[in-house]
């Protein structure tokens, strides 16, 4: 019963087309060759990106990489396992704070007294951040495992508010209301800062933004691969069964509590890493960066991208994270959008309107999200229909049911509420 509903949509095109049974093996192979070529091109593009684009794009890119990692983690929890969590901002905060505390210096440049830090190497801080976030997830999981569906959603909401309170209060560690600065990252003596060592690649100076870009890229690829492999493995299948029906899962020998605990662990470790990258990209942390809005942004990412799809989470993160930054950059060119205090809609607001509306439209018309749209386009392309080749750039949502898109909605009747 689980087989028909569990195929992970994004990227797993070969599995899906095998399931549809329409395309024979030959076009399937051609399709996968095309896919690999496209992936290779994308990778090359991302690798040479810093040589051609300026700092704004690199910083935006790094923010997207960090957010994408967090979104992949949340998607494992919400999309794959069906546990609605609004606590993601809390786990991000645990990661970011742990990093800043473990690797930060006491006293903080003498400007702000009373802030402590252990001063350990940044890589240690990053690992500790990830582990502590995972631990926080594990501690929360007994509560989570007892709660079903929507109760979990609201209980996790509580975690965010408690987290912000702790951030505001526990000044020696978190920096309190004003936050604290996050130390620069370095790896075995190679700093990800502006100098030391000076570095030029093909005549392009590699400064902080360029270096961080590659750091983020490597981490994102690792996070992506891990999630993909996890979903295709035995535990991944178990998690998907858990989403479709807890009873069926337990009858089939899946230890429901243990798997829920593990998925919380993994998801919050992703969040922890994402939090560390966030701290690196901003250079400091403050309580307001980890409020409810952030949790909702992450939820928006995975809904837009497509619940349960790893690639979709990355797309969603790109959309939600880059949009406000782009609006800000091009405020004077875009209609309606303006710099703050000039009558028009400011960049942040405009972006929020856009993704709020996008969430509603996606849930109403395309529950599989961007990943679903992408898959529909590729499956059309593969069948060699003429119109699809003409305009793959316009993802016109067509009538549901005309293409063999696997549903990522949890199946009916699974919500035992």
């Amino acid at each position: 019963m689980s087989e028909q509903t569990v195929s992970p949509p994004a990227g797993a095109t070969s599995t899906a087309s095998r399931g549809s049974g329409r395309s024979g093996p030959a076009p399937d192979r051609r399709g996968s060759v095309v896919k690999w070529v496209l992936l290779g091109l994308l990778l090359v593009f991302l690798l040479v990106f810093p040589l051609y684009f300026d700092e704004f794009w690199l910083r935006t890119g790094f923010a997207v990489f960090g957010a994408a990692i967090g979104a992949i983690g949340l998607n494992l929890l919400v999309g794959t396992t069906g546990q609605l969590s609004l606590a993601h901002a809390f786990f991000l905060a645990v990661g970011a704070v742990s990093y800043s505390y473990v690797s930060g210096e006491s006293g903080g440049l003498g400007t702000r007294a009373g802030i402590e830090g252990l001063g350990l190497p940044p890589i240690v801080g990053m690992v500790v951040g990830v582990l502590l976030a995972g631990l926080a997830g594990l501690v929360f999981s007994p509560i989570a495992a007892r709660l079903r569906g929507i109760y979990l959603g609201v209980a996790s909401l509580g975690l965010v508010f408690i987290g912000v309170h702790v951030l505001n209060t526990w000044t020696p560690v978190t920096g309190g209301f004003n936050g604290r600065s996050a130390p620069e990252f370095s790896l075995f003596g190679f700093t990800f800062g502006n100098s030391d060592p000076q570095l030029f690649v093909l005549g392009v100076p590699f400064r902080e933004a360029e270096r961080l870009w590659y750091l983020g890229l490597v981490l994102l690829i690792a996070a992506y691969m891990f999630a993909r492999n996890l979903l295709r493995s035995r535990p991944g299948r178990a998690l998907q069964t858990l989403r479709d029906s807890e009873v069926a899962a337990s009858v089939m020998g899946v230890n429901v509590q243990a798997y829920k605990a593990r998925v919380f662990l993994v998801s919050s470790m992703y969040a922890g890493l994402s939090g560390v990258l966030y701290a690196l990209s901003i250079g400091s942390i403050a309580p307001e960066s980890f409020g409810l809005v952030v949790s909702i942004q992450y939820l928006a990412m995975i809904v837009l991208g497509g619940l349960g799809s790893v690639g979709g989470a990355v797309l969603g993160a790109l959309f939600v994270t880059a949009l406000p930054l782009l609006f800000q950059q091009y405020a004077d060119v875009l209609p309606l959008v303006s710099a703050p205090g000039q009558g028009g809609i400011s960049a942040g607001f405009a972006a929020r309107f856009l993704y709020g509306a996008a969430i509603i439209l996606i849930v109403l018309f395309e529950p599989a999200g961007l990943a679903g749209i992408a898959q529909r386009l590729t499956s059309r392309f593969r069948r060699g229909r003429a119109p699809a080749r003409g305009g793959p750039a316009t993802p016109a949502p067509e009538q549901p049911g005309s293409a063999p898109t696997p549903s990522v909605r949890p199946s009916q009747g699974s919500d035992t509420r």
């Binding site: 069906g82 509580g158 209060t169 409810l292 939820l299 509306a357 109403l364 699974s414």
Partner: protein, 296 residues
């Protein structure tokens, strides 16, 4: 002792306001199986409308129109979005209400900006003393109005044909539909009632001792979520109890802040969530919520 009684009374009045919000939350959940994350911004919409309209329309007119606006907004959300998604998983429904919330809240915050809008309550910001216990008139009236409204609601819920229809469709939607109960109408009406309740709560929530309508009201409204969850999402009585509990907990935590300094300043604002998580640990479906039974 006086302090204790004062905190008790103030907590109860705050709790009555929370109960109004939580009740709306529960009604919506019972009628359409949706956990409405839109409720916080609906409340802010009510508060904003009342504050903005009280200049041209006078206080009473503003309140009436404000309530209509809030109810209308809830109605539109139900008609245009929720009604189309009948039978969708609870999580999808919750997410779509979050989408609505993002849009509505963004627009309201954009309009309110950093200002604090004043609502000219005719009873002003004065306090009354009852046997040495001080409470603002606003809160006192809130408690009375909320009590009356809640009582009226329970009577309607028990005896009116709408109440019966709603209970029937909450009990077993399919059978109710077969008996001729129009679920779309039941659900729409539930959203309208919840909108009105949120509007009334907004009216009192922005009165003294709160300074007025600002975006912070949203955070206050959110604290009714724990109230609804804690009482049990599908229990109207639970919403009442949950609201009062949360109000009391918040009031006491704020009042005895000096003794709770090790938990940090402003702990009162977090305490609803702490209470909620503690209760859920013991009773995963809230205090009065129906336990989920799974038949195999």
């Amino acid at each position: 002792m006086t302090q204790f009684l004062s905190l008790l009374l103030n907590g109860l009045s705050l709790g009555a306001i929370y109960a109004l919000i939580a009740l709306g939350f529960v009604i919506i959940f019972k009628a359409s199986e949706v956990v409405s994350f839109t409720h916080g911004s609906l409340l802010l919409l009510g508060a904003y409308s009342i504050a903005r309209l009280s200049e041209p329309l006078g206080f009473l007119g503003a309140v009436l129109v404000g309530l209509v606006i809030t109810a209308l907004a809830a109605f539109l959300v139900e008609r245009f979005i929720i009604n189309r998604l009948r039978g969708a998983p609870v999580i999808s429904l919750a997410i779509v209400t979050i989408g609505v919330d993002i849009i509505l809240l963004t627009e309201l915050i954009r309009r309110i900006g950093p200002d604090i809008l004043n609502v000219p309550h005719p009873w002003g910001g004065e306090s009354v003393r009852i046997g040495g216990i001080g409470i603002t008139q606003n809160r006192l009236i809130a408690m009375i109005v909320a009590g009356l409204l809640i009582a009226a609601f329970f009577v309607a819920f028990k005896y009116s044909s709408w109440g019966v229809a709603m209970r029937a469709s909450a009990e077993d939607g399919e059978t109710a539909a077969l008996m001729g109960i129009r679920q779309g109408r039941v659900s729409a009406l539930a959203w309208v009632v919840a909108g009105v309740l949120a509007g009334v709560a907004a009216l009192f929530l922005v009165g003294s001792p709160t300074p007025g309508v600002s975006s912070a009201v949203y955070a206050t409204a959110l604290r009714a979520f724990p109230a609804a969850i804690l009482g049990g999402l599908d229990s109207t009585g639970g919403a009442l109890v949950g609201g009062l509990l949360i109000g009391l907990a918040e009031s006491f935590a704020a009042g005895y802040q000096e003794n709770l300094l090790f938990l940090g300043r402003g702990f009162g604002e977090v305490v609803p969530y702490v209470v909620m998580i503690a209760v859920l640990l013991v009773r995963p479906s809230g205090l009065f919520g129906t336990k989920e039974l799974t038949r195999v």
